[in-house]
Amino acid sequence: MALTAVRVVVAGAAAGAVVALDEPLSFWGGYSAEHGTITDEHHPQTGVSLTGCIVVMPGGRGSSSASSVLAEAVRLGTAPAALLLHRPDEILATGSLVARELYGTTVPILVLDDAAYARAAAADRVELSATGALTIR
């Protein structure tokens, strides 16, 4: 099934298994760039690995340092393959843009509408084209 993103925040091709998060995640104070896992004790999915996964989540939380943690995860190869969000998050977008400048690789970020978000969250696997087209498997 093909879906269209409401907004391509940071473009890039990616494919992977879907991990749908029940709550927003702050990458700083909530994600280990070293291990690629959720470390936020208040998050229902604490301990889950996101490395190489298509992460479907409502959005980020507060911390400004989330940009740094995302860029560091890209450097260490522990980042998600892509982020599919319900609402835009400029702090995550910045981390992804800077990773591209520094390391030539990035975490694509798309914002989805209600219907597309629900479908992506329920999917097993998602593929993203470089132009932001989504295919759900």
């Binding site: 959005g59 980020g60 911390s63 400004s64 740094s68 835009p88 702090i91």
Partner: protein, 425 residues
């Protein structure tokens, strides 16, 4: 999908083309890249910046700052620096690996080399000069962002690491998000219902209410009706920092208190709220309880941490008053985080000697939840900060209890948890 076009001025375009040097071009690429993702049609000029990127999270932070410094980057507006991983005034407190300390120091030096002021505080709004009403700024650090927008009436979007320094170098930011009137109006109304006067008059309400609101609204702009007018700044600080931890709140209004909320109608921008949430004592108790991860019955109190965000002079005054001539129990490690500028002011008042001789350790330039300064904690840690309570379990791997500053002082003196539960009934 509708595309909007970002229109650049001649100066913006020249910077992007590299006429201001390689670092200027890199900084402008990041600013324009973010502007495009935000759907901005233009950039606007900023009058100040606050940088969060100086806190070390790994090699990528240094790689980026080195690219800028190697390209001769200089900030073009007054720029303050957030906390780092090191307390430069109390270096012996650091108990982490020397390689990390060296990397942190290197990152701090790189940001100073670009002309940023070594303020090392997460509460730049407590410095002698701070942004005025209506001024456009580019601030990172979630609690500072929400304070600047809500309490000062300055205008900054929720900026993260990297974009902060890029905006400071270019002096430009996307004309989007919380810079614009249309995104500053409140859209979710919180009405306090049945909350006792005792709780309304107590410092402990603000962080708990903020934590509850952040969970409810994510990135919307909440309006709070029912807090006393005036509400002191340290409570608004606690409310905002909590809401920006549990949610992505960049601005809130308190009716009759904050500068863009003289009336409920002003706060809502003349429109009805999208949603109204009544908050009663039971909701507040639940939010308070969510901040405690420790089983406090069968474990000892090992530490107390105050000052997240950095304590102000007014908060130190309250601490000194509550402590009186008593001492901290020797089994409890007691820390207060603050800015070096505030440390200077309170030392002139004689409070530093007084607190230190009572067993209180003051930490500057950094914070107890981002760097190993607390040492091994025998038991759980108690805090008056919802932000600290939210992040410390994940960051430090410890259990946390939340209480008011009164609870924290009484517990630190007694060496066991003493909480005023009557306030919450």
């Amino acid at each position: 999908m509708a595309r909007v076009t970002l229109h650049l001025t001649d100066d913006d375009a020249a910077a992007l083309a590299g006429e201001a040097g390689e670092a200027g071009a890199l900084a402008m690429r990041i600013v324009t890249g973010l502007a495009e993702t935000m759907g901005a049609t233009r950039l606007l000029s900023i009058e100040g910046a606050h940088i969060d990127s100086c806190l070390y999270h790994g090699r990528s932070g240094i790689d980026f700052a080195e690219r800028l410094v190697d390209g001769d980057a200089r900030v073009s507006v007054p720029t303050t620096l957030n906390v780092s991983s090191l307390d430069l005034l109390h270096p012996d407190l650091y108990k982490g690996p020397e390689t990390e300390a060296a990397a942190s120091r290197r990152l701090m030096q790189l940001y100073e080399a670009m002309g940023c002021e070594p303020t090392w505080t997460c509460a730049p709004y407590q410095l002698a000069t701070r942004p005025g009403f209506g001024q456009h700024i580019a601030w990172a650090e979630s609690n500072a962002i929400v304070f600047a927008n809500s309490v000062l009436g300055a205008r900054t979007h929720r900026y993260g690491d990297f974009i902060d320094i890029c905006a400071a170098i270019t002096g430009r930011a996307p004309a989007a998000g919380l810079h614009l009137d249309e995104h500053r109006r409140g859209d979710v109304l919180f009405r306090l219902r049945g909350v006792s006067d005792a709780l309304l008059d107590h410092d402990v309400l603000a962080p708990v209410l903020g934590y509850l609101i952040g969970t409810e609204v994510e990135d919307h702009v909440p309006v709070i009706d029912g807090l006393p007018s005036p509400t002191p700044e340290h409570r608004l600080k606690a409310l905002g920092s909590a809401a920006a931890s549990s949610g992505a709140v960049g601005m809130f209004h308190v009716v009759g208190v904050t500068p863009e909320a003289a009336t409920l109608t002003d706060a809502l921008g003349g429109r009805p709220p999208d949603r109204t949430v009544d908050v009663g004592p039971e909701d507040l108790r639940r939010a308070r309880d969510a901040l405690t991860t420790a089983a406090t019955d069968d474990r000892p109190l090992g530490a107390v941490s105050l000052g997240t965000p950095h304590y102000s002079v007014a908060e130190f005054a309250r601490l000194v008053e509550l402590l009186g001539d008593r001492r901290i129990d020797p089994g409890v490690a007691c820390f207060v985080n603050t800015a070096r500028a505030v440390l200077h002011e309170i030392s002139l008042r004689g409070w530093v000697d007084r607190l230190e001789s009572a067993g209180v350790q003051i930490v500057t330039d950094t914070c107890t939840y981002i760097t190993p300064v607390m040492g091994e904690i025998h038991g759980y840690a108690l805090t008056d900060s919802a932000k600290w309570a939210h992040y410390a379990p994940g960051n430090l791997g410890i259990d946390v209890a939340f209480g008011s500053v009164d609870d924290c002082v009484e517990s630190a003196v007694a060496g066991r948890l003493v909480r005023q539960d009557a306030l919450w009934r």
